[in-house]
């Protein structure tokens, strides 16, 4: 079965700093999803990456997919307190299949 490892486990940054978090898969990535979760709440969709080399941006968040490394990275530029939360990566095994999630990365942003 597919396993997703996210690193680092947690991260504390000063407001305004850039940061990068990673998600590495044990198997070939067909579709990679990034979600954000506030503790005890629902999952908010951030981005979906489907092809090797694909890069997407939304506001100050950029995600890339490296097919060869079976890895995705998510980069936040000029972090703000509103970026704080748990970032989950999920991978699918094909269209309309289940998502397998990593454990998540807890991000704290100090004002």
């Amino acid at each position: 079965s597919q396993e997703l490892e996210q690193s680092p486990q947690s991260l504390i940054v000063q407001e305004g700093k850039n940061l990068t978090i990673n998600c590495t898969s044990s198997k070939t990535l067909y579709g990679l999803y990034w979600y954000k979760q506030k503790y005890g709440e629902g999952l908010i969709f951030l981005m979906m990456l489907q092809k090797g080399g694909e890069e997407k941006s939304h506001e100050k968040i950029t995600a890339k997919l490296d097919e060869k490394k079976q890895q995705s990275s998510l980069h936040i530029t000029a972090s703000q307190p509103s970026h704080a939360g748990i970032y989950l990566c999920g991978a699918d095994g094909g269209a309309n299949s289940k998502l397998t999630f990593g454990k998540g990365i807890t991000l704290s942003v100090r004002p």
Binding site: L43, F45, M48, D92, A95, K98, G104
Partner: protein, 111 residues
């Protein structure tokens, strides 16, 4: 943007009781999912549903669990005889193609 809704937001039940968790997927979506997240742990896949039947289920989804789409809008998860270890956040998701939209979750507490 359309949303997946779930009710109730919080359910407290006694061990051995039956519970039904309700979800209203996005109206034109055809694929439905249930996931759960035990506090502090990964989001785990339970079951996927398409064309009025289960398309995939995990090892967690044993005989105590069932899903149903009783009408054109609702999608339910039933747990027949709850156990303490069923305490978790339960998320419903729906999709049209690949992107899965998650509901806000139902927090189930079994005492």
């Amino acid at each position: 943007e359309p949303e997946v809704t779930q009710t109730p937001s919080h359910q407290v039940t006694q061990m051995g009781q039956e519970v039904i968790l309700r979800c209203v997927p996005i109206s034109n979506h055809l694929y439905f999912y249930w996931y759960r997240q035990i506090l502090g742990q990964k989001v785990e896949f339970l079951v996927s549903f398409y064309n009025n039947e289960i398309s995939e289920k995990s090892e967690i989804f044993d005989d105590q669990f069932s899903v149903e789409r009783p009408d054109g809008s609702n999608f339910t998860l039933k747990i027949r005889s709850t156990k303490l270890e069923d305490s978790a956040m339960y998320f419903c998701a729906s999709s049209e193609t690949k992107k899965q939209y998650f509901g806000p979750g139902t927090r189930l507490t079994v005492t």
